[in-house]
């Protein structure tokens, strides 16, 4: 009888630290999601509100730059909006994981969607980065002029909006790894 009671005591001691680490991982996951939400939302808004009109014009051409003049930027705004919406929707699930650290199936579903969103975010950010680079430097071979020399504030906006997005990418990588660690430790 006494041996059985001692066994139960040792077993419960082994489980408690494991449960505590899982809870810490879940809390960190929630905080990272909040950071990513702020980053991607900021990027979407910063890119989506670009609108610069130069103070001169000729009779036929109008010197105006907006984000939807370039399809890559439209894709960037759409991708960041989708990812922000997904993060907002996944926050309740993250809270659920803090409360119930042992849930495995929901974590795996979250890993799947997090990976898909990581790919979408990276695609949007890199496509926009390629066009931003072209806007800054132009390309001699293809005879593409750099438009940044004329559209200063537009250029600054589009360059700055990339920062939040790339930060979101880093955070997403961490989130996926954390979810996998939490799944493997239960």
């Amino acid at each position: 009888m006494k041996a059985g009671a001692l066994d139960l005591g040792e077993a419960s001691k082994g489980l408690a630290p494991r449960g505590g680490v899982n809870k810490g991982v879940s809390i960190l996951d929630f905080i990272l999601r909040l950071i990513a939400l702020i980053g991607t939302l900021g990027s979407a808004i910063a890119m989506g509100t670009t609108d610069e009109t130069l103070p001169f014009f000729t009779q036929f051409i109008r010197f105006r730059a907006k984000y939807d003049d370039l399809p890559s930027f439209t894709f960037f705004v759409v991708a960041n909006s989708i990812v922000s919406a997904y993060l907002a929707l996944s926050l309740p699930l993250s809270i659920f994981h803090i409360v119930r650290s042992g849930a495995r199936s929901s974590r795996i579903i979250l890993i799947f969607f997090d990976t898909a969103m990581l790919a979408l975010l990276t695609a949007g950010a890199s496509a926009a980065a390629a066009i931003v680079y072209l806007a800054h430097k132009g390309n001699a071979r293809a005879n593409w002029i750099s438009i940044c020399q004329q559209f200063n504030s537009f250029c600054e906006r589009i360059s700055g909006s990339l920062i939040g997005s790339f930060g979101g990418i880093l955070v997403f990588i961490l989130i996926v790894i954390l979810s996998a660690v939490a799944v493997s430790r239960r």
């Binding site: 003049d69 990276t122 695609a123 890199s126 996926v176 996998a180 660690v181």
Partner: protein
Amino acid sequence: MKSGDATTINIAETSGGSKGKAAAAPTIVATTKATKHAAAGWKRGIAIFDFILRLFAIAAALAATTTMGTTDQTLPFFTQFFQFQASYDDLPAFTFFVVANAIASGYLVLSLPFSIVSIVRPHAIGARLLLLVFDTVMVSLTTAGAAAAAAIVYLAHNGNASANWIAICQQFDDFCQRISGAVVASFIAAVIFMLLVVLSGLALRKH
């Protein structure tokens, strides 16, 4: 009492039902071992599928790298000062594309031994977790290269009226076909990487 890979539960024996309870303990040992064997077989299946997917991803990433890296088209006419030549290193986005896909191919080849380890030892967490971490980074890197090149390829096909950028595909046909094909192959590799991440996550579950 805990033995190697199966747990036994000590049931306190009373004088009355000792026979019934002694029979219960071996069945509990038997069921935990059976669950572990079933889990090992299922994890092994996932690991084999993971290995096959890696082989496909190597093919896709290598194809993307070589197709983009060997682009070199010279148009048959030239003026006194210009020679109309298009190569991948004329555009920094394409250079990044080649580098990113080369890194992805190299990583995939190096990860094959770890994949084999997780086939042979289905319950090894370390190898799978390592693969998952690097696969996640590779998803990001491959998608970044593919998307940046796709943005430039789109511009090459369609041009942009607002920025006064002309579509160069109308002149450089072969170059354009090559870069478009390379981008498609790279996106296939990115999708395979995503599948690998989800598979590793599935196989990491403890039973």
